[in-house]
Amino acid sequence: MEYSEKVQQHFLNPRNVGEIPNADGIGEVGNPQCGDIMKIYLKIDNDVITDVKFKTFGCGAAIASSSMATELIKGKTVEEAWHLTNKAVAEALDGLPAVKMHCSVLAEEAIHKAINDYRVKKGLEPWEDKFSQGGHDHHHHEHEIE
């Protein structure tokens, strides 16, 4: 398993780390049990994401995905941000190792959650996504330490 140059850049210099004090939407997904939590803060003006920040507890791929995903939705409309897929995040990172794809799913999920948080706060119906039915997809491999 080897990370791309892009993943390494975003992991080593993650963009948009932090919190937004009075965020318009907050989404937290994952669970410390699985070793990954991602929290996204959105500042939204006129349906446009004017600022976004994240906090992530997780692996290199999770941190790089958070960084890339937040970059990708910054300045976009809420609708555009909703349609950002984990695959697009992974592609923007020049790919992720197969066992790490789920870390990018986390980013998609967290953005959806933050957007719905914003919509509910505004009194709108939350949008339906594929995550509403079940948890995110983890690969079942065993742990290895020599």
Partner: protein, 395 residues
Amino acid sequence: MEEKRLVYMDHAATTYVKPEVLEAMLPYFTENFGNPSSIYTFARKSKRAIEDARDKVAKALNANTDEIFFTGGGSEADNWAIKGVALANREKGNHIITTKIEHHAVLHTCEYLEKRGFEVTYLDVDENGVVDLEQLKNAITDKTILISIMFANNEIGTIQPIAEIGKIARERGVLFHTDAVQAVGHIKIDVKEMNIDLLSLAAHKFYGPKGVGALYIRKGVKIDNLIHGGGQERRRRAGTENLPGIVGLGKAIELATQDIEGHNAKLITLRDRLLNGIMDKIPHTKLNGHPVHRLPGNINVSFRFIEGESLLLLLDQFGIAASTGSACSSGSLDPSHVLLAIGLPHEIAHGSLRLSLGDKNTEEDVDYVLSVLPNIVQRLRDMSPLYEDFLKGEK
């Protein structure tokens, strides 16, 4: 481009081959390459070299020379010991006792046997990683044919009370195997005194080459072969002998066991300097494994609020090579079974770091790690929503 500073602190994963060891091996690749089974003079050197290595291993363990069998590594030795004893003693019983913190070479072998009609008890360990001797005694039934308990754990470094376990096993007439892959060359071992019936070792954990190990089989132990074929290793393990590898193993075990105590004194001083530094400088840190009965070079700590893979990647940026029990580093769902077995919650297990020191590590290495690690941990904590929650909770 300038080579980055490398501080290798992953000796429990594997060690470099010591120059003296490599030097001892070299004549056996291109010059004295004869097949030890051949009868001509030229091959006699090969035969002698192997018997000389066997002597050295026997001496290091206080075994007899004809009780040492060379293998292709630690995993093969573990597989052979467990499957071989299980299958050869099937009519006596089908019960095996092991622990929850064994290496996968033991655990997966036991699981495989479970599918083939064997029953396996996986003993718990306490929060320091030590097996409970009472639980062990109670687990033994008349169907029990084998107890397999590792000498020292590869992750948390905890050393088991092997002599006591050996005594119990011998008294109850059950064979006792110990996976000593992490212990050989690092802790004094006496198979006779400790009542060990079978013991696995691997050269690459004590500055010998990879791809060669050995199984000690006490005389009289009934065991099936794992690798059938030619008559090598007194008909117990087929295959043309890994001549240079075996010579290297012999040299390495000789070097590693000639002054274990003096050597460990130095290593422990270094390790404790590092451990104390970490505990002093980094809050919310927990030492995993036994505080005293642990491998001399082993440190295993958990940093709360952060995840191990990202920690390793950042350490790597500074040329520090280490290891973690986090699930993320292997792409699996669960963190290390060892860390879970000592009772760590998942998220604490995820934040674990193993630093295993070796012969070439220096005080400068230690101080370098201490100058880098706290900032890295802080950097990851600053990114962590768990840390954020924790800070908010504190207010």
